[in-house]
Assembly symmetry: C2
Homo-oligomer: 425 residues x 2
C-alpha cells in the first residue's frame, strides 16, 4: 500500500501561511471587544433599501438574464458605468479596457497569475497590503521593498530597488492600506518615469481613492502615465498602452459582501486577464453585477460616497483626537487624508503582537500588529488601526483602553530598562 497522498504532498503542514488578520478577526468577534483590527466598512452606511429596490427591479425585469451565465468580461452597462466614473478623473478608458472581477482581491490574484514566474521579485511599499502578499506568494514571488513615510513610498530609494530587476511595482497611492499615507505628486511623477525608463509595469491599487476627507485630489498614476506617454509621443496613440494597470472595487463605496471589483488595463492585457478568469471562476456573478449597476447608476453612487466621506471623516477625527489625549507621547502615528486606516509606531524594541494579547485580555480592545504587512520581517513595533467600522463613541472608548495598555506596557518596559541599567552599571 502506498503512503497516503496527503503525507506525500505535504498537505498536513501549514506551508502557505495563514492570514494573520483573518485569524485575529475570529479572536475579536466577542461582543465586548472593541476592534480596530478589521477593515470593515460601517454596516449602518450600507444602502440596504436601494439594494432591495434594485434586486426587485433586476429580477422582475431581467430575471432570466440575471440568473444565467454571463460574459467573462462583465456586465456591459456596469463596464460603461466604470468608464464614466474613470472619465471624471480624466482617464479615457473604453469598455474593452475594463474587466469586472470578484473583488479587487481577484484582480491581484489574476495579475499574479499573468505576470509572476516562481522566484520573480515584486517591488512593494513597506508596509503594504497583506492580501497582495498572500496572493502573490502563492506564485512563489519574492519581494523587494521601499519604505514609506508620511508622503507615501520614499521614491528617493526607488531607483536602487528598481535596479534589482522587479517584475512589477505594486503601489497603493491613496490612503494606503495599512499606512494611511498618500503618495505625493512629485513621487508619483518619479514612479511613472522609473516605470518607463526601466520598462517595468506599475500595478496601481486604488480601493479608497474616492474616500478623501481632506486635502486636494491627486491624479492617479494611470492618468499621469497616459499624459506622460502622450506628451512624449506628440499626440495620443489611443488610451492605455502604457505602463500602469489600475484596479479598484465597489467594496468601500457600495458593499464588500458583493465581491465586486475591476481592472483597467490596455486591451491586450485585458484579453489575457479574460482568458485567466475563464479558468478561475468563468465570470463574476451576473446577479450581483446587475444589482450593483442598478444601485450605482443615475448618480446614486456619487451621492452615497459623499455621505460615507462625512461619516468616516468624523470617525478619523475622533480617533486622532483620542490618540492625542490617551496615547503616550512616545507613540507616533500617521494622519490620513482619507481611507479606512491609520498607522502607529511604538518605540523601537516594543512588540505589538505581544501587546495585542495583553490588549484583548486586559482591556478588551484589538488592533492588527503591523509585522504581517512587511514582506521582510520588519515592523514589530507597528500597528494598524481601522476607524471606519466602530461608532465615534466606541472609537473614543477603544482608544482610551488602548492608551491604558500602552502606558502600562511602556512603564513596565521603562522600569525593566532602568533595572537593567542599574544591574549593569
Amino acid at each position: 500500500m502506498a503512503t497516503p497522498w496527503k503525507d506525500r504532498y505535504a498537505l498536513r503542514t501549514e506551508g502557505m501561511g495563514s492570514s494573520v488578520i483573518r485569524e485575529l478577526l475570529k479572536l475579536t468577534e466577542q461582543p465586548d471587544v472593541i476592534s480596530f483590527a478589521g477593515g470593515l466598512p460601517a454596516p449602518e452606511m450600507f444602502p440596504v433599501e436601494e439594494f432591495r429596490q434594485a434586486s426587485e427591479k433586476v429580477l422582475a425585469e431581467h430575471g432570466a438574464k440575471a440568473l444565467q451565465y454571463g460574459a467573462t468580461e462583465g456586465y456591459m452597462p456596469l463596464r460603461s458605468l466604470i468608464v464614466k466614473q474613470m472619465a471624471r478623473y480624466g482617464i479615457h478608458a473604453r469598455e474593452d479596457n475594463i474587466l469586472l472581477t470578484s473583488g479587487s482581491q481577484q484582480a491581484l490574484d489574476m495579475i499574479g497569475r499573468l505576470l509572476i514566474n516562481p522566484g520573480d521579485k515584486i517591488l512593494v511599499e513597506s508596509p503594504t497590503y497583506l492580501g497582495a502578499l498572500q496572493a502573490w506568494s502563492a506564485y512563489q514571488a519574492r519581494y523587494v521593498s521601499v519604505p514609506i513615510d508620511q508622503d507615501g513610498m520614499r521614491t528617493e530609494l526607488l531607483e536602487e530597488a528598481v535596479r534589482s530587476g522587479p517584475k512589477f511595482m505594486y503601489i497603493l497611492p491613496n490612503f494606503q492600506n495599512p499606512g494611511g499615507v498618500t503618495l505625493a505628486l512629485d513621487r508619483r511623477m518619479k514612479l511613472i518615469q522609473m516605470a518607463e525608463q526601466y520598462g517595468i509595469p506599475i500595478i496601481e491599487d486604488d480601493p479608497y481613492g474616492q474616500l478623501r476627507y481632506s486635502g486636494e485630489h491627486l491624479p492617479p498614476l494611470v492618468l499621469l502615465d497616459c499624459d506622460h506617454l502622450e506628451s512624449r509621443a506628440g499626440d495620443t496613440h489611443g488610451y492605455f498602452d502604457g505602463n500602469v494597470i489600475y484596479t479598484s472595487t465597489f467594496s468601500k463605496t457600495l458593499a464588500p459582501g458583493l465581491r465586486l471589483g475591476w481592472i483597467v488595463a490596455p486591451v491586450d492585457v485585458i484579453k489575457r486577464c479574460v482568458q485567466s478568469k475563464q479558468g478561475m471562476d468563468l465570470h463574476t456573478s451576473t446577479f450581483v453585477q446587475m444589482v450593483a449597476y442598478e444601485v450605482a447608476k443615475d448618480g446614486f453612487l456619487e451621492q452615497h460616497v459623499r455621505r460615507i466621506r462625512q461619516v468616516y471623516a468624523h470617525r478619523r477625527d475622533v480617533m486622532l483626537a483620542a490618540m492625542e489625549r490617551y496615547f503616550p507621547e512616545e507613540v507616533q502615528w500617521t494622519r490620513p487624508a482619507g481611507g479606512l486606516f491609520l498607522w502607529a509606531w511604538l518605540p523601537e524594541g516594543m512588540n505589538t503582537a505581544e501587546l495585542l494579547e495583553l490588549a484583548v485580555q486586559t482591556q478588551r480592545v484589538a488592533f492588527v500588529p503591523g509585522h504581517a504587512f512587511y514582506p521582510d520581517g520588519q515592523g514589530k513595533n507597528t500597528m494598524r488601526l481601522n476607524f471606519s467600522n466602530a461608532t465615534p463613541e466606541m472609537i473614543e472608548e477603544g482608544i482610551r483602553r488602548l492608551g491604558v495598555v500602552l502606558k502600562a506596557q511602556m512603564t513596565g518596559a521603562a522600569r525593566a530598562e532602568r533595572l537593567v541599567e542599574r544591574v549593569t552599571a
Copy 2:
C-alpha cells in the same frame, strides 16, 4: 529607454489558449442560430419569483450582514444545508468539510493551485471537461488520459496510466461533460482501489449528479471511498480522511448566474483551500450565499430539481429521437441517463471544426467540435450537443438542420473518396 514591458513579458501573444466554447458562444449569439453549443440551463426554469422573495427577505432581515465581508469558509447555514444534502446520498460530512466557492470552476482552480507543480501529470478522462484543462494548464500541468466508452472511463486501461505517476485523477462520474456517459459501479470500485493502492487522490466533479432522468442512482466515489476505508480500518475513523475530493455546484439546480459551488474534502484539505481562497477572492459573495440559502431551504431545492428533471428528460428524448430520424446512419452517439449533454462520433477522417463553420453558415445551427475536450489532440471527428437550453421544438428543428449538413458533408466526402480511388486506381 527599456523595451516596453509587454514585449519583454510576451504579453502581446496569445500563449494561454482561448476557450473554444466561449469564442463560439459569441459567434452563435445571433438570434436565428439554433445553438446546441453552450452548456446553459433552460432560463425559463429559473425560480425567479423565489429569488425575488428571498432577496427581499435577506435584505429586509439581514441587510447589513448580507452586504458585509463574510467568512472565507462560507455562510454557515448554507454549509449546513449542503451537509444535509450530502447526507441524503449517504455521505457523512460535517460543516468543516465544506467550503463554498465562486462556482465549481473556482474549486477546480483551487485544487490546481493546491496540488499542481509545473510539469505534474493529471489523469483525466478523454474527452473531459474543458474548463478543468483550462484551469490546470495555467499551473503548467500535463495530462495522461484514459478513453471513455458508454460506461465511462475504460478502467481496464487505468493501471497503466496510473503507473505513469499522475498527481491526481479527475473524474466526472455522472453524465459526464462532454460525453454524457455514466461511470459503471464496478469501474467506480476499480478507481477507488487504484487510488488507495497508489496513494493518488481522486477529484470527483459532480455538477449533474442530481439530474438523473433514467436508471438507478449510483453511489458517488467519495462515498465508496469512505465505505472502503472504513471496512478496511474495521471502524469509522471519522468522516473524510480518504482519497476523494468532491465538488459540485448550484449552477444546474438553481442558477449559474449566482456563481456558487462547493468542495467537500478532509478537514486539513479544506483548511488549505481556505488559505488559498483568501488570496484568490477573500470569500464568495455573502449576499449571493444568503439569497441562495433562502431559496434552497425547506425542501424547495428538491422540488425544483424534480421539475428540472422532467423538463430535461423530455428534451433529451426529443433530441435522441430526432437524431435517429435525421442523422446519417454512420454517426454514433451516447444516450445519457442524465445531465445536459450528449456526444456524437462521426466517421474517422471527418472534421467537426470544419463542419461547424458550414453548419452555422448554411443551416444556422451550432454545436461544439469535440477536439477541444481532448488533452491529446484527438477527437477531430466528435461533437458535443447540449439538450437543456433549447425548447423541444427548437431541438427537433436544429437536429433536422444538422442532419442536412451532416448528410451533405458525408456525401461530399464519399464522392471525394470515390474520386481519389478512381484517380489512384
